[in-house]
């Protein structure tokens, strides 16, 4: 556990010094938000569109952060250093995944005021608990699979290009579940059953955390 936290702490410290992942993710989310607003020009956006816009921007921002987090390790030879440390491979996996999860979560929370300012009709904080649950369960799924896949794509020719191609189809259940949960928060007369979607996300998260943890050492070892 302390080893996992050590890796997490290393990532946080590196990020606090450069802030490049964080800033690019955040700016990207803002840009997506603005683009969405103009793309559906002048229309009073429906709840469905707002929830969709939120998760589309989170998903793409996550891909940015995920690929960066391993490119750094790879290019500076840090991954070899980590692999040489006397610890389980799953410790590295959990450390990296936890870092990705945390960054995504922070960016999501920070972007909330902007979503509620720009999409004026959406009351985002009416059911804060459910919104927060959707963030946690959604981001957990994204970073569980994303960390594994970015460890794969970092060694391919196309790198950042291949990551979304591999990731998005696998993440479809997360997207559907998270959007449905967010819709439950936004809609004044919710007809969606939040519990069902929470279960779906939870099952997905458990399956893919276990799977990624089991297969991570095949991916990083030479």
């Amino acid at each position: 556990m302390s080893q996992i936290l050590a890796i997490l702490w290393k990532d946080i410290r590196a990020e606090l010094r450069t802030k490049d992942i964080f800033i690019s993710m955040f700016v990207f989310i803002l840009l997506t938000l603005i683009t969405f607003n103009f793309a559906f020009s002048g229309e009073k956006l429906q709840y469905e569109v707002v929830a969709g816009a939120m998760w589309v921007s989170y998903l793409f921002a996550a891909v940015l952060g995920l690929s960066r987090s391993l490119v750094h390790e790879k290019d500076k030879g840090c991954l070899e250093g980590l692999l040489l440390c006397p610890m389980e491979r799953s410790v590295i996996y959990f450390g990296k995944a936890l870092g990705n999860f945390l960054f995504l979560l922070i960016v999501q929370v920070l972007s909330l005021p902007f979503f509620s300012v720009f999409f004026t009709q959406a009351e985002l904080l009416k059911r804060p608990l459910y919104l927060f649950i959707s963030f946690i369960l959604g981001s957990a799924g994204i970073s569980a699979v994303g960390t594994l896949f970015s460890a794969i794509t970092v060694n391919t020719k196309a790198r950042e290009l291949l990551l979304p191609v591999l990731l998005f189809p696998i993440l479809l259940p997360v997207l559907i579940g998270a959007v449905k949960l967010t819709l439950f928060v936004l809609d004044p007369q919710p007809i969606y059953e939040p519990l069902k979607w929470m279960q779906l996300l939870l099952i997905y998260d458990i399956i893919f955390v276990l799977f990624s943890n089991l297969t991570f050492h095949y991916v990083v070892e030479e």
Binding site: V145, L148, F149, I152, N155, T156, K157, A158, L162, V165, L166, F168, P169, I170, L172, P173, I176, G177, K180, I191, Y192, E193, K196, W197, L200, I203, Y204, I207, F208, F211, T215, Y218, V219
Partner: protein, 222 residues
Amino acid sequence: MMEKILRFSVLVLVPFSLYLAFFYAPVEKTMGIVQKIFYFHVPGAWVASLAFLIVFIASILFLKTTDFKYDIIARASAEIGVVFCTLTLLTGPIWGKFAWGAWWDWGEPKLVTFLVLWLMYLGYLLLHRSVQEDLRRAKYAAVYGIAAFLDVPIVFLSVLWYRTVHPPLVIVERGGLDAKMKVAFFVSLFTFTLLYFIFFQQVRSTIELRERIKEIKSKLEG
């Protein structure tokens, strides 16, 4: 010998099942001639599923044994699976246009799952192309092949729940199939399955030859 028998039986069975589908089986009353798609759409979907199941099993075996035999099996099977998946996706909307009056229905879990499957295994083939080193490539593809297959039931479930507000779709009873239709259908199913094995042999030996050429080339270059 085995392969010759296989080839010969397919040579006979393909025209035979075409004859059964188009002439022997009666034209369906409500759907008319469009119903003939049934004899190709369903077997195509079956072969695609079988192919992806084999990718899954071969991927697990590869990670366990690191025997490249399984990698080649998985790759060959994925290629054929994508072809039959394409066939299913092309015939499905034609059927849908006549049965539901629309080319596509995002609430139909089978349809959407097949689209996601198609995207996943295209990604799988792309991944194979974008890694140079053999062991890495095979490992990555195996991990992805397992992840994709694990994801399928969750994708299906999430699309099934996607339209919670709508009443459940009335599923057309298949029990009312005419006896002649049944014959044509099962013969077609059998033919498609044999076709899979023939293609599989072919693709596998092509990949094996390609690998040998690569080996010889690298030896020549020293």
